[in-house]
Each structure stands twice: as structure tokens, then as C-alpha cells.
Symmetry: C2
Subunit: 273 residues, 2 copies
């Protein structure tokens, strides 16, 4: 059997009881190491699970699926994924590959930022489409995500913005070489994302009508589910100056607030800090 | 400390390791019993947790918060919630009440249908606003959810439809009496929701432009996260005749399919059954 098991968000003990039992009894356990920050705590996970974990980087998961799935019709093989297994496209890929090989598969769900973001007090069913905000480069400054935020906001909906993560990205120079060299890991911060958003708004170079202004209410969320989780609410212009601490960060661009949402969110307003 | 702990979706062992430790060491443990079906398995949960659970119905959670929170600044008190703690409004209420009483609070997240629905192969970030489809009565047949589904579909987005649950609803006759009598529990099925949707479409009595037709692709999802989870994809007209088995059910009205989504969803098509 091939299992994909979500390990949750922050604590080594966030794996479910069922997930832990499977991990402990499996033949091989891989830890997906490129869509989150948890793998930096691999040793902690290994100690708690009482298992050695094999690091699975993007190359292995995307191109080496058959290696991971080797003998999975005889033995139990596990791929651990931070959050819930279905937050990243690649895991659908490897499940399809397993089915092609007639290997039974099972998924053990867990919390992901897509539902845990509810802890800021905004109701999950008042969220529209989720967007991703990528790191800009000198020559590549996409702004299409603003269009989706505007679409949501015009319908009164909140937008969860997932901020870019670059882990084990090969350097440009090594991309065609056999021996890859990797850039240092980078995790976009709330203030950086807000700064990019402000630049797009100030430039007036975007498609369609704009509902997001410097005064729009945003919620910065850092390390959700971790012991030192931090939530701060303020205007876009204010959030540019807020240091949310270590990664991972995300932002919500708030749509129309309902009374209970407003009441709950109040405790996180910058003024009340 | 007052804890709200998500117990996940289907299996008693879906609680996280951290959640279980807290449950076992707490003074009182309440089990929220009105937004899901798991409480029917209360005994199973009690056996596995090795704890007695106090059933917390809607009245207790919404009007008896102070009873639940009694002495929670000295002892650990837990409220167990099926799925993730932030899927229902009432839990924001009780957290706010705890803060008013200067009681520390902590939330232990878990999977909820809002993220676990990804298991049908549709990407979570291609979903728009989630809607709820309520049971119709003879004189109350709301159709406003179709407007939101249309809004999503016109933007190429999928819509998760949560289907009505009626647990411990007082009978109309007993509503003003001291001793309440309760209606039998009801859980809306996929085929019932599809039938209501078809009736709205056929009646042509709805606001705005309509993108949902009898031929629109839908995904029925039953008992997600349970050992006997079932997923079936078909047109709205086909799904009216599909028996998805025991509750809980939900539906996704599919927006624009991306190639990998289509490839994954194929395995669930009615034709391939």
C-alpha cells in the first residue's frame, strides 16, 4: 500500500494517531521537503516518529515517483507531506502513477493553511479563490493575482494569499548540469507581499477595476498552528512595516466583514498591540 | 486553559497525537454533537480516548458557554469538534467568551471537508466561495446558493456545496416549551441536493445568468476520510439517481477542469463504475 500522510502544520505531534501508527509500521518513509519549512526539523520528526525519514525533494517526487513506489504493492510505503496531502499538485501525480502500477493508495488527511486560516476569525465560507504571490525578480513582476483579489473583494469575499516558498531551487547556472547547486531557501514575508501589492496599486498598471487600496484591511498570519503563531490585522499600508517573525507567512485580504468576524478580528488589530 | 480540538473526519484515530494527550489529561471533555455525524460514535470515541465525554448540544454551546468554561482558568477543559474547530461560527463565539473571562485558549487544528475535498482531484485553489444547500420545506425553497455557484462557474471555479444537517432540532411544537422534543436527525444526500438544484434550473426562477445545466459536471463525495469513502463524478442529471450510501455527503459543482484534474477525476466517472 502507498500512503500519503499529512503531518499538519507546526508541531511534531500534529500527525494523527492513525498516521503515526502507519509511519511506525511502514517499510520506507519519505518526507516531502520542498513545499514547506517543516523539513528543517527533520531530526525532531525522526526522533518523535522513531523512524528514519528519507528526504524527498522536488526532483524525486516529480520525476522519481517509481523509485518511491518501488515494491509498494508488497510493502507499506509512506510519503509524508506538510499540511494536508492535497495542497500541492504533485501529489495527485504520484497517486495517479501508483494507480497505473496497480498499487493500492490511501490518504491520511490533516489540517492545512487552507482551513487553519479560520483561526483569525474570518469564516471559511466567506473566502473566494485562493491566490499565490510569487517573489518578483528584476525582470519578472507578475500582478495577475490582484485581479483575483479584486474579483473576490467585489463579491464581499476574503482572499487567502499563499506567499512564495523557494526551497532547494537549483541555481540558474547549474540548471543544465548533472550536479545541481541550490540557492539558499527563501520564504516570502508578509511585509514583502504587501510591498509588492502596494507597488502594483500605485503603478495603476493592472487589469480591470480596483477594490484594493492602501487602506484595505489585511490579516497577516505567521506560523499558524505553531506554539508561537502570530496574527496581526491592519491596513495594507500599515502591514508593510510589521515584522511577523520567522516563516511561514500568509496574508488575507479582507472582503466584507460580518459582525462576529469583526468582533473576533479586533483582538489582532495593530492599535491593540 | 480552554482547548478546542478538531477530531478530524471519520476515524476515531484521526485526532492528532497532541490532541489526544490533551484530551487524556483534561479535567472535562465536551463533544460537540450537532454539526456532524461522529457523535453517533460517542462510545467508540470514549473507548479510544479512555475518557468520558460530555455531550454538548447546540443549546449548551450557544447559550451555556459559561457552564463549559467553568473553572477553565484553573483546570484544562476541552471542547471536541468534528473536522476543524473553525468550520462553524459558534466556536468563534465561545472563544471570545473565554477571552472575556480571561481564560487562556488554544486551538488544535485538524482536517475538515473544506480541505479534504481535495481528495477528488480538484485543486483547492480552483475553488470559489463555498455554499450551503438547505433542506427545502413545503413553503420555504431558497435558491440563493445557485447565484454563488454561477458566480464561481463564470470565473471557471469549482463550488463546494455543504449539504444540510439537522441534528437535535427541536420539533416545532416543543420550541417554546421547557422540555424540548427533538426531530429525528436528517442528513441531506447528494441526490436530494441535485434534485433541488435541477428544480431551480428547470423553474427558470433565479437571479442573473445561469451557467449550471443538467449536463454540468458534479462530484458527489460521501464519508470523506472514512474507510468506506465514496466519490462519484457525473452530470447533475445523472447524480440525481446515484445512491452514495450513508451520510455525510457533499457535492462539488465543477468549474473549468485543468488537465491533471480531469485525469484524476476520470477514475470516478459513472461510466467507469
Amino acid at each position: 500500500m502507498f500512503y500519503i500522510i499529512g503531518v499538519g502544520l507546526g508541531d511534531v505531534k500534529d500527525i494523527t494517531v492513525r498516521g503515526l501508527e502507519i509511519v511506525r509500521s511502514a517499510k520506507r518513509v519519505y518526507l516531502e521537503s520542498y513545499t514547506s519549512i517543516l523539513p528543517e526539523n527533520k531530526l525532531q520528526l525522526e526522533n518523535f516518529y522513531e523512524r528514519q525519514l528519507i528526504e524527498a525533494d522536488r526532483e524525486l517526487v516529480e520525476q522519481g515517483a517509481d523509485e518511491i513506489l518501488d515494491k509498494a504493492n508488497e510493502d507499506n510505503v509512506v510519503l509524508l507531506v506538510v499540511g494536508d496531502p492535497f495542497s500541492a499538485t504533485t501529489h495527485a501525480d504520484i497517486l495517479l502513477r501508483a494507480r497505473d502500477l496497480n498499487i493500492d493508495t490511501k490518504v491520511i488527511h490533516n489540517a492545512s493553511i487552507m482551513n487553519a486560516i479560520g483561526c483569525c476569525g474570518l469564516q471559511l465560507y466567506h473566502f473566494g479563490e485562493t491566490v499565490s504571490i510569487p517573489f518578483w525578480t528584476d525582470i519578472w513582476k507578475p500582478s495577475s493575482f490582484l485581479k483575483k483579489i479584486n474579483q473576490n473583494k467585489s463579491n464581499g469575499l476574503h482572499t487567502l494569499c499563499l506567499l512564495d516558498i523557494q526551497v532547494k531551487e537549483p541555481t540558474w547556472e547549474s540548471i543544465t548540469k548533472k550536479k545541481k547547486e541550490y540557492q539558499p531557501s527563501r520564504f516570502m514575508e508578509v511585509k514583502q507581499a504587501c510591498s509588492q501589492l502596494l507597488q502594483i496599486i500605485d503603478s495603476n498598471e493592472f487589469d480591470g477595476e480596483n477594490y484594493v487600496t492602501r487602506e484595505s484591511l489585511c490579516v497577516g498570519a505567521a506560523r499558524i498552528g505553531w506554539p508561537d503563531q502570530k496574527i496581526v490585522a491592519g491596513t495594507l499600508a500599515e502591514m508593510v512595516n510589521v515584522d511577523m517573525g520567522s516563516p511561514l507567512h500568509s496574508i488575507v485580504i479582507v472582503g466584507t466583514l460580518h459582525p462576529l468576524e469583526e468582533q473576533f478580528l479586533k483582538q489582532f488589530y495593530i492599535e491593540s498591540k
